[in-house]
């Protein structure tokens, strides 16, 4: 396998109700990534498009549609693993280069959630099994609330301990110029916000967002030619568990442990809790960040809330977690949010994260995303 590095990245603002079309958002992010890389579109060999569901933008065949943002007359493909898509977009771009197929790849992820009517929630009704689940009229928050309550019950975790994730991430987002939901809030604000599906309150959830993200990956010699601060992709992992979530122990994300083991093996990480300097775990809900820190084996089962309380995951802690502000703070245009997490680790390792830059020196970073029906995980390990 060839060594693969990152030389550029770009984001749009993450906001609700963007005037720009999905194509225009993808174009903006792609142009910014090319600018940072110092390349032009004509230099790019292949393009990977990431978009989670077509239904949010309301545009069928999103891959073909978004290909207009750089992929026309090029080797272009689309990846789709629901919420795990954003990191999968980077992984797919990585194997285009690692395999020897392409020299320079542009990875683009986009999602526009606000056009869905009457509410983006309605779109999610169609992910459930039409015969055995949909007749109960579920909405997506149900499934997360069920998982959160199972996690709380199994390990005796309190809502206020989970709410600290939302407090931390929204606070971190104050340093992020792209963020939609940055705020200085307290645990009480979370607990007193509207109860959506107990135990989930409104401030336990990431917002409805539109946005795009893009990244440029290249071979080792090109990376060395274009930058003095290279960041390398050293491990990738992805797995799918089954869709039979009612027949599974929801307290622990097995799907993620499998993917993390694959990525760590490739990156030669033996002690994730000691060797990872900074992490961006997927946090569409606050408990999900804790769940994922455990699946990533950075915390033992049921112990992430304790480490969080001790400040381990704070921006100046031992293992800063979601220093970007995560989905809770930056926003959640699904595929773009996962790629945003990957980009935020890249900027941390490059040392260009600005006010988001974590206090300690960082060498190894991990980004992760999760999706489909409680089953897909994607993990990427980067080093400088």
């Amino acid at each position: 396998m060839r060594k693969v590095g990152i030389i550029g990245a770009g984001l749009t603002l993450f906001r609700r109700r963007m005037l720009e079309t999905p194509q225009e958002l993808a174009y903006i992010a792609a142009s910014r990534a090319l600018d940072e890389a110092g390349l032009e579109l004509k230099d790019i060999d292949c393009v990977v498009i990431g978009s989670a569901p077509d239904a949010f933008d309301g545009i069928h065949m999103k891959g073909e549609y978004l290909a207009k943002a750089g992929g026309e007359r090029k080797m272009t493909s689309r990846v789709y693993v629901g919420g795990a898509t954003g990191v999968m977009t980077a992984i797919s771009a990585w194997y285009h280069v690692a395999s020897g197929l392409c020299e320079k790849v542009l990875a683009i992820a986009e999602e526009k959630m606000s056009p869905a009517r009457p509410h983006p929630q309605s779109v999610f009704k169609y992910i459930w099994d039409p015969i055995t689940e949909k007749p109960l009229n579920p909405n997506l928050i149900w499934i997360f609330a069920m998982e959160m309550h199972r996690y709380m019950a199994k390990y005796g975790i309190k809502k206020e301990d989970i709410a600290l994730v939302s407090v931390k991430n929204k606070r971190n987002a104050m340093n992020n110029p792209y963020a939609q939901a940055a705020a200085n809030i307290t645990v009480d604000d979370v607990l007193n916000s509207e109860v959506l599906v107990w135990p989930v309150n409104r401030l336990d959830v990431s917002p409805v967002s539109d946005g795009a993200a893009a990244m440029v990956l290249a071979t080792e010699d090109i990376v060395r030619r274009y930058t003095d601060t290279p960041v390398w992709i050293e491990g990738v992992g992805w797995t799918l568990d089954n869709t039979s979530w009612p027949g599974r122990e929801l307290a622990y994300p097995r799907y993620l442990e499998n993917a993390a083991r694959m990525a760590y093996k490739m990156a030669k990480i033996e002690r994730p809790d000691k060797e990872i300097d900074v992490v961006e775990p997927y946090d569409p809900f606050d408990y999900k960040e804790l769940h994922h820190l455990e699946g990533l084996m950075i915390a033992k089962k049921g112990e992430a809330p304790k480490l969080l309380k001790e400040g381990v995951f704070d921006i100046d802690g031992d293992i800063p977690s979601s220093p970007s502000g995560g989905l809770l703070g930056v926003g959640n245009p699904i595929a773009a949010a996962g790629l945003m997490k990957t980009i935020s680790i890249y900027w941390q390792l490059k040392g260009t994260a600005g006010k988001m830059q974590v206090k300690k020196p960082v060498h190894t970073g991990v980004a992760q995303a999760w999706g489909d029906l409680m089953q897909a995980a994607t993990v990427i390990v980067m080093r400088n």
């Binding site: 963007m18 909405n139 039979s244």
Partner: protein, 163 residues
């Protein structure tokens, strides 16, 4: 360059409504068909893999672990343990509800507490919001409450109730 709109601004543009005429007839397949027939008879039907012993509810025609056909139809108990339960104050279109809908997952028997995978169903649970809030419903033994008029769908079970 990016331009977020205010909520009011969305009221001004012309909106074009369009409803696609698209309907689907799903094939439930052998396994879900038998499952639905079972519900009509007031039974919960699964499929068992004799190689690994795993019981699939809803039934599956092949074992995903052994990657071979499952071996037999089994009737599992309509009783189990509440794994998790939640109370929804919003509808699927995010309308506010006065009375919460209570749902959860149930680990049916035969199964053991430490099984990572088990015969499990997602359904309504007949209990109070307080029992969800104080988590006392989680871990309780429940039984299906069957409707007297059944037509072969998951709604043939009204809910699962503590016994």
């Amino acid at each position: 360059m990016e331009t977020p709109l205010k909520k009011e601004e969305l009221k001004e543009p012309i909106t074009i409504s369009y409803k696609p005429y698209a309907k689907y007839e799903y094939s439930a397949g052998q396994s879900i068909s038998r499952y639905l027939e079972g519900l009509k008879e007031g039974k919960i039907i699964g499929r068992k893999c004799n190689k690994c012993g795993r019981v699939y509810v809803p039934p599956k025609m092949y074992c995903e672990d052994c990657f071979k056909p499952t071996d037999e139809w089994v009737e599992v108990k309509d009783e189990g343990i509440v794994e998790t339960a939640v109370a929804s104050f919003i509808s699927w279109t995010r309308e506010r509800l006065e009375e919460p809908g209570i749902v959860g997952t149930i680990r049916l028997f035969p199964s053991k507490e430490n099984d990572y995978v088990f015969p499990g169903v997602f359904h309504r649970i007949c209990c109070s919001y307080d029992e969800v809030r104080n988590m006392s419903i989680i871990g309780k033994r429940v039984k299906a409450v069957w409707r007297s008029e059944r037509k072969g769908d998951i709604d043939d079970i009204e809910c699962f109730k503590v016994i």
